[in-house]
């Protein structure tokens, strides 16, 4: 029986789609059978991030409206034998799908796949409700900014209210130089405020922009973000992986800076 994971954030632009693409690809690299579902109806973008935009025939709305079978709508990623994408519809609107339909779809896919990853739209309306309806667990993505953290707190509350028991935090786009200067919250600061368990810290890395341009997730590469995402995947599988030392000199500078703080 597969596990259904929703990737959500509340605020837009913090890296939900990038995280879905990288965690999904990473899990496939680790030998799991994975399907990624873009639940942002009307604004599809997981397909371009994955580099699969030219192969779409059917979409999520076609599946729930029974215009096609699930298998017909799944795009197989030729780079990895176990990875599939169910793209969103571009021309329909959010009300085309109901939470009940999403639940049913997730349960059908559970039979076939180890992991079903749902890329959730921004906001807390219909699209969010659809995405979380069938989920067993959630990955909440945030950046170390006040707006993103506040929205993440709201989302965590809503996930709790909807009885999603397992919720983990990914702090994305961390800039260690700014953390060192005391001008950006660290992952510890964000965890302290949100009070949920951390599952990943992804540094701000220009390689992400390049990989998105190319339509090739960078998980598993030697870049810092690539390694950080692979560690997230291993932690999703239950492995206890130590956090990367994103800034080797941090210890010294932290001490140095703390002298001037008071």
């Amino acid at each position: 029986m597969g596990q259904v994971i929703v990737i959500t954030s509340g605020k837009g632009g913090v890296g939900k789609t990038t995280t879905t693409a990288n965690v999904g690809t990473g899990l496939a690299m680790l030998g799991k059978k994975v399907v990624l579902i873009d639940t942002d109806i009307g604004l599809r973008n997981l397909d371009v991030v994955m580099g699969l935009e030219n192969r779409i025939v059917y979409n999520l709305v076609d599946v729930v409206e029974n215009n096609c079978r699930i298998k017909q709508a799944l795009i197989k990623d030729k780079r990895y034998p176990n990875l599939y994408l169910l793209p969103s519809a571009q021309t329909k609107d959010k009300t085309s799908v109901s939470p009940e339909q999403m639940k049913k779809l997730a349960n059908e896919l559970r039979e076939e796949f180890d992991y079903i990853l749902l890329d959730c739209p921004a906001g807390i309306e219909q699209g969010f409700k659809n995405a979380i309806a069938g989920a067993d667990r959630a990955l909440v993505v945030t950046t170390p900014e006040v707006s993103a953290v506040r929205d993440a707190d709201r989302i965590i509350g809503l996930l709790e209210a909807n009885e999603i028991r397992q919720t983990h935090l990914i702090v994305n786009r961390l800039r260690t130089d700014m953390v060192r200067e005391g001008n950006m919250m660290s992952s510890d600061d964000v965890v302290e405020i949100l009070a949920i368990d951390l599952i990943g810290v992804v540094p701000d890395d220009e390689q992400i922009v390049i990989s998105t341009n190319n339509g090739e997730p960078l998980v598993g590469s030697e870049s810092k973000a690539g390694r950080a995402y692979m560690n997230v995947c291993k932690r999703v599988l239950g492995e206890d992986v130590p956090y990367l030392d994103l800034e080797e000199t941090q210890g010294f500078f932290k001490k140095f800076a703390s002298i001037f703080k008071k």
Partner: protein, 94 residues
């Protein structure tokens, strides 16, 4: 001179400013009631308790907070009321 210290203070501590602002914003986000409902509830509580004891309405403080359960099995929202009794009042009038 003060502009120099201000400059350093703000650049050193913008993360602390962010944290403190977030804590305040999130606490009120998490509260189960709107300020209007809180005010209404506060007035009702004052009215009921005043039937029994003289209370110091200025010192009254009511808020919704998260608190850990006694058996530390989880955290729940709790209504925390701090209601000072006026000095020299005869308690339990009725």
């Amino acid at each position: 001179m003060s502009f120099i210290t201000n400059f350093f203070r703000s650049s050193e501590n913008s993360k602390e400013i962010a944290k403190n602002r977030l804590k305040v914003a999130i606490t009120s986000d998490r509260a189960v009631c709107s300020p209007e409902v809180m005010e209404q509830m506060k007035n009702d509580i004052i009215r009921v308790i005043s039937n029994y004891v003289d209370i110091d309405t200025d010192g009254l403080d009511i808020k919704v907070t998260k608190t850990e359960l006694d058996d530390s099995s989880g955290v729940v929202n709790a209504l925390l009321a701090n209601i000072p009794i006026k000095e020299g009042s005869r308690n339990f009038r009725k």
